[in-house]
Subunit: 232 residues, 4 copies
C-alpha cells in the first residue's frame, strides 16, 4: 500500500468537491495537497474527467516536480503549485479553476474591490489581479513563471499570503490556497461568490464606495483576530 | 427532554430551509425562533455546516443574550436577533443571510425601489437600506448596535415592522423577520427575488418608474387588507 | 366521480410543470384549462403550495366566475382567465407567473424586441407590454379589467391572439395561452427564455438591430406555415 | 439489425448529453454523427422531446439529404449538417443549439473576442459571427444556404475549420463540430462558457484588451501543439 494513501485521498476529495460546488466544467481545474513531513504533494492528473477519477490516480511529486509515485501525467499547472509550496511554507493546499466570475474579473484585469462584509469576513484587502507576464516569461517555463508572477505581485503590494489566500492571474483565472486542500477549495468558492457580488454591486451602483476601515477590521477580526468569536 | 424541543425543531427546520432555497453557501446565514411565553429564543450555533446540524444543536438564550440551554456557541449575530425580539414584540422569527442579490444592493448602498406587483404583494414601501454605522458603534458592541441601527432606520423613515418585514444593512446584507421562523425565511426568499428583479429592471430600463400608488395599494390589500381574497 | 376529472388532471399537470420548469417560487403562478363543450374551466386554488396540491383541489368555474365544483377558493387571478376564455374562443389554456426575466421587462415597461430566430420560431411580432391601467380600473374590478387591458392592447396594435400567444402586463408580469394548458406553460417558458436572451443581447450590443423580415417569415413559416416542415 | 446501430447510438448519446449539459430547452437543438466509410450521417428527428428519444429514432441520410434509414422526419436543420459534412471532410460530428449566451452574442451580431486562456485553450481566433444572409438566400434553400454562409465566413476570414470548431450565425445561434459527435457537444459547451465569460468581462471592463499573442500561442500549443503536454 502506498505511504501516500491518505494524502491522495485528501487530494481526491478536494478535487471532487470542486466539481460538486459547480466551480469547474469538464477538467478545467485542479487541486493539490501537500505532505510537509515527506516534502511531497499530490495533484490531480491532467485532463482526467471527474466521473472517472479515483484516489489512486493522484500523482505524487516533490517540490522540484519529480514524480515520486503515479502512472499518470500530472496537471499541466503542476509547476505553479510546486512553486507556491516551495516558497510559502505554511500552505497545505492549492486550487486552480476557470470559475465564471473569477475568470471574468481576471479577463477584465481588475482587482476585486472590497465592497462588503462577505469579503471582509475572509480578507482585509482587495483581491489582487496580477498583471499578465512579459512575453519571454510566457514563452519560457510558463507554469513555473506563473508562480513567480504570483509572488512578485504579493511582494510588490506588500500582501501576506497567510491573510490573502487568493489571487487572480490577469487573463487567466484564480488560484487559491489554505492550510489544506479543503480550505483551498473553500477559498475558491468564496472568491467566486465575492467576485459575483462585486460585479453586481458595480452594475447597481458604479460609484459604490469601498468598505470603510472600521467594518473591514471588525469583520475580519471577529473571525480571525485573537478575540475571534465566530465558529466553535 | 428539553422543554424547548419544539422551539429547537422549528428553528432547525427554518435553518435547513434557508439552505434548501439556495440562500446560503457554507455557514453564511442564521435563523432564530422565539418562544414569547418563556421569554427565550432558539438560534443556530455559529459556524456549524448545515449537513451536520441537528435540532438539539440549537442554542436557547433569553433576550439579554444569556444562554439558557445548549453546549455550542450561538451565532455571532445573536445580539442583533435578541435586540429585535426585545423591541419588536410581535415578531416570532428572524433570518440573516449573505444572499447574492440582496447583498449586492446592500453593497451598492441603495434602497430597492418598488417596481412591480411582486414587491407590492408583500410591502408598500421601497425596501430600506440602512446606512453603515458610525465607527465608534462598529468598534463597540457591534451586533447589538446593528439592531439599534435597524430600529433607527425604521424610526427615521416612519416604517412599520409589521408591514416592512425586511431590511438591508449597508455593506453587509439582509435581515428579515415575521410571525415565525418559517415566515422570516419566506421573506428572505422574497427579498432576494425582488432584489434580482429590480436589478434586471434597471438594466433593461435605467429610467423605470416606481409602481404607481393605486397598484401598490391594490396588490398589498388583496393579500393583506381586511377584504383580502388571496389564499385559503 | 367528478365529470371534470380529466380536466382537473390536465390543469394539475400543467401547474406542476410550471413549478418543475423553475418558472415560479412558492405560489406565484397559476394555470387553467378549459372544457369548451361544458363551458367551464379548471384553475389552481389560491395560495396552495405545489407540494401539497392534488388534482382534486382544482376549482371548476364557468366563464362568469361562478364556482361549479370545488371546496377551495380559486386563484385570485381567476377573473382574468375567465375573461380571456369568454372572448378568445380558440384558446384552451392560460398561464400566469412572476417569472424573473419576463417580470423584469414588464417592470421596465418595454416590449421585447424580436432579435432572433428563437423568437421568430414562435411569433412574428415584438412581445407586447400592455400599459398599466388607469387608476379607476385598478380600484374597480381589477382582475376582470386586466383581461380588458390585454384585449385592448391586442386590438389597438392589431395583434392576433392565435399567433401572439403571450403578453406582458406593465409592472406586473406575463400571461400566456395556447390550445391547451400544457401549451400555455410551454409559451410561458419560451417567453421567459426569449426575455433573457433579449436582455443579454442589449447588454452586449445596445444597438442590436431587430431581426429582418425575411428571417422572421422564414422561421415562423417553417414551424407554423402551411408548408411547415418542423416536427413529426 | 441495422448496420447503423452504433452510429445511431453515438448520435443518440450526444443529443442526450446536450440536454444534460443544460444547452437546450424542449427540442431547441440537434446533433449529428457521420460514418465516413458508408457516406452517411445520423441526426436527431425533428421536434421529438429528449425524454421520449430512443437510439432507433435517429435518422440516417446521405450527404445529399436522401433518407437511407428511419421512419421519422429528420431535424429541420439537416441540410446545414450535410453541407458541412460534404465540404469539410475531416469532421465527424455537428451540433446546433439555441444556448443562452451563444444566441445572445449572435443576436448582438458580434464576434466573441478572445479575452482569456479558457478561450485560447481551444482556439486562437475570435469566435466568428457570420452575417445574416441576403434575403433571396433566406427565401430559397435556407438550411443549405446556412451551410454556404458558414463556409463563406471561414473562407473570407481565412479560418481553418480544424482549429476553429465553432461559429455563430448572426441572429440565429451557434453551430459547433469536431472529430465526432461528442466533441461537437463539448465544443458547444465550451462556446457557451466562453460566451458568458466574454459578456461578463465587458460588463466589468468595457475596454478589456484582447489576449496578447504570446499567451494565445502558449495556451493553444500546450493543448494542441506538437509538444502538447495536456491530458494523458
Amino acid at each position: 500500500m502506498s505511504k501516500y494513501k491518505s494524502l491522495k485521498e485528501e487530494c481526491y476529495e478536494a478535487n471532487m468537491e470542486l466539481n460538486a460546488l459547480g466551480l469547474v466544467i469538464y477538467t478545467f481545474g485542479n487541486v493539490s495537497a501537500v505532505d510537509r513531513d515527506n516534502g511531497v504533494f499530490a495533484i490531480k492528473p491532467s485532463g482526467v474527467p471527474y466521473e472517472k477519477l479515483k484516489p489512486s490516480d493522484m500523482v505524487i511529486l516533490d517540490y522540484d516536480n519529480t514524480i515520486v509515485e503515479g502512472d499518470l501525467r500530472p496537471s499541466s499547472d503542476t509547476k505553479t503549485h510546486s512553486y507556491l509550496y516551495k516558497n510559502w511554507e505554511k500552505i497545505g493546499g492549492v486550487a486552480h479553476t476557470h470559475a465564471m466570475y473569477s475568470v471574468s474579473w481576471a479577463q477584465a484585469q481588475r482587482d476585486i474591490p472590497i465592497f462588503g462584509t462577505t469579503h471582509a469576513d475572509h480578507l482585509t484587502q482587495d483581491i489582487p489581479c496580477a498583471a499578465p507576464m512579459a512575453d519571454d516569461l510566457i514563452e519560457g517555463n510558463y507554469e513555473h513563471n506563473t508562480g513567480i508572477q504570483i509572488l512578485d505581485c504579493f511582494s510588490s503590494r506588500n500582501l501576506d499570503y497567510n491573510e490573502v489566500e487568493m489571487v487572480l492571474i490577469g487573463n487567466h483565472g484564480p488560484f487559491a490556497w489554505g492550510k489544506n486542500a479543503a480550505k483551498a477549495v473553500y477559498n475558491t468558492k468564496v472568491l467566486e461568490t465575492v467576485a459575483q457580488m462585486a460585479y453586481l454591486t458595480l452594475q447597481i451602483n458604479p460609484n459604490a464606495p469601498r468598505l470603510k476601515d472600521s467594518l473591514i477590521k471588525k469583520h475580519y477580526e471577529r473571525k480571525h483576530g485573537k478575540n475571534a468569536y465566530y465558529g466553535q
